[in-house]
């Protein structure tokens, strides 16, 4: 049923991504592609992967930006996947009932066997989070690794999405945003987490932690008078 859950889900599972820590290594994107090639989302077939027009579904992609001017600039990496919005219009526009939002935990999923590949959900998503699988003729999206996070055969520590588990910078966190005491909720509150394009009113569950202000890295002023030979050498060296 493509109507959204009547009541706000009891749990709101999602990702909290720290843009201050992300180093843009694309490990999340690769782990996601590899891990989800099977399971609930798979296969994720690429067309012409080494050809002139490579294309195929990736459920997580990392954008690289530069921001600010030369003196005060920085590089920012933005991993982007489905934000599992509370007001998910990708779900309500679906004519077949293939897209749905789970009432129990808010995860937005596609039942691939019902999808007709009309692509309207991709048009309705402001984040560009849904991708068309040309080989399968259906839409693909982040499942929050739904077949993994509830798999009781795995160690509890492993019941997290592939992208979170693989992130070497610990820039990705997974948790329940409905619980104010959860780690993600507390970190989100502490760091002032951001919902991108919030003014469009989709109420994304997944949030981003903004880059922290840059520290002042100006070299400390050297002592006006050179004392020892080492001081002098130091100053010479710094030139």
């Amino acid at each position: 049923m493509t109507a959204l859950p009547a009541e706000r889900p009891q749990r709101r599972l999602g990702l909290l991504i720290d843009l201050d820590l992300c180093v843009g290594c694309h490990a999340c994107a690769v782990a996601c592609k590899e891990g989800n090639d099977g399971g609930a989302a798979g296969p994720l077939t690429d067309i012409e992967p080494c050809g002139r027009a490579p294309r195929g579904p990736w459920l997580c992609r990392v954008f690289t930006y530069e921001a600010g001017d030369v003196a005060n600039g920085r590089t920012i990496y933005l991993p982007k996947s489905c934000l599992h919005c509370e007001d998910a219009q990708c779900v309500t526009v679906c004519p077949t009932g293939a897209s749905y939002k789970r009432a129990e935990d808010g995860i937005v999923l596609i039942e691939a066997s019902r999808c007709i590949g009309c692509k309207l959900c991709a048009w309705a998503c402001p984040y560009g989070a849904r991708e068309y699988d040309e080989a399968e003729g259906v839409m693909k999206k982040c499942t929050l690794c739904v077949d993994r996070i509830f798999d009781e055969r795995l160690d509890e520590a492993q019941r997290i999405p592939f992208c979170v588990q693989t992130c070497p910078a610990h820039a990705r966190h997974f948790g329940d945003f409905a619980d104010p005491e959860s780690f993600v909720s507390r970190l989100a509150a502490e760091r002032g987490a951001i919902a991108p394009l919030a003014e469009l009113g989709y109420r994304p569950t997944c949030l981003y932690l903004p880059p922290r202000p840059k520290r002042d890295h100006a070299a400390p002023a050297l002592a006006a008078e050179a004392g020892t030979v080492e001081d002098w050498l130091e100053r010479f060296h710094l030139r």
Partner: protein
């Protein structure tokens, strides 16, 4: 937005078909159904052919056309599902209307079936237009003029077909419809909404104090789905030459030909109305192509 040939063909063909069907049902009671009426049957037949061609074309847009029947289930939330249901439900009354008119029996029933078919045709056109007008991420289409323009363009193409098939007596109707559609399209273009409401990637990234953010590397190839379908730079946005083509082919030429027709002879007048219909069809395909090409999806901000 990437223009899809199947969707362009669907909206041009089915739009003209539904409009011709509705107009035929509305004008038929005024003297066209008195006796056996091959004219009404021909008009309904042409309308149904255009509608079915359009609907068939729309399934080519689907990755899984054989599952299209599933699209009727979610009428409670989806305008696409509502459109599909209205399109299918409208077929039996339309066929009954055409058949009764062809047989010349029960004009009362024929009128009732025709009016029901006309109502459902209007509902279908409204649903199609609302699919576009209800998409939050595409500011250009959120305009209040999207649905009226789509409606007026469909009315215009149907009225031209009616004049071409049923006689130049419907020329003034076609001229009025062209004028209405022209005005609606101008208002659509003049309405604000070219720039996405939200262009605040810097704010979304939390780097506003540092200044604007620029994309350094994109994570997908230009042929990847999102980039090609949604985030390709809009083409012909505010392009005067492209718009002039629409003004000339879709509106000015058909209007001039339709107005000229009564002044020409019977034969030349007929030719002129058909020429007007042909020019409008080409113009409508260009207009529909531009409707997509000049619309920006808000996820384009990630690629700037």
């Amino acid at each position: 937005m990437r223009p899809a040939a199947s969707v362009i063909a669907f909206t041009v063909s089915a739009g003209a078909g539904y409009s011709l069907l509705a107009l035929t049902a509305i004008v038929a009671p005024f003297g066209l159904l008195e006796r056996r009426s091959p004219l009404v049957a021909v008009l309904v037949g042409v309308a149904l052919a255009l509608i079915l061609a359009g609907l068939s074309s729309s399934t080519l847009h689907l990755g899984r056309p054989l599952r299209a029947w599933r699209a009727f289930s979610q009428w409670r939330s989806s305008w696409l599902a509502r459109e599909g249901i209205a399109a299918i439900v409208g077929l039996p009354p339309a066929i009954a209307f055409g058949a009764l008119a062809a047989l010349g029996r029960r004009p009362d029933l024929a009128i009732a079936a025709g009016l029901l078919a006309a109502l459902l045709a209007v509902v279908t056109l409204f649903c199609t237009a609302t699919i576009y007008a209800s998409l939050t991420p595409i500011a250009r289409w959120r305009s209040p003029w999207t649905a009226p323009t789509y409606f007026a363009l469909a009315l215009m193409s149907g009225a031209l077909l009616l004049a071409a098939l049923a006689g130049p007596g419907f020329g003034p109707l076609a001229a009025a419809a062209i004028g209405t559609a022209w005005a609606a399209k101008i208002l659509y273009w003049r309405a604000p909404g070219l720039a996405p409401k939200s262009d605040a990637l810097s704010a979304a990234l939390g780097v506003a104090p540092l200044g604007a953010a620029r994309l350094l590397w994109s994570p997908d190839s230009p042929s990847a789905f999102v980039r090609a379908e949604l985030a390709a730079p809009p083409r012909f946005e505010r392009d005067r030459l492209a718009r002039a083509t629409v003004h000339v082919a879709l509106f000015a030429t058909p209007l001039a030909l339709v107005l000229l027709a009564p002044l020409s002879g019977a034969l030349l007048g007929g030719v002129e109305i058909w020429a007007a219909t042909g020019s409008a069809t080409i113009g409508l395909a260009i207009e529909r192509w531009m409707f997509f090409a000049e619309a920006r999806h808000v996820c384009g901000v990630y690629y700037r």
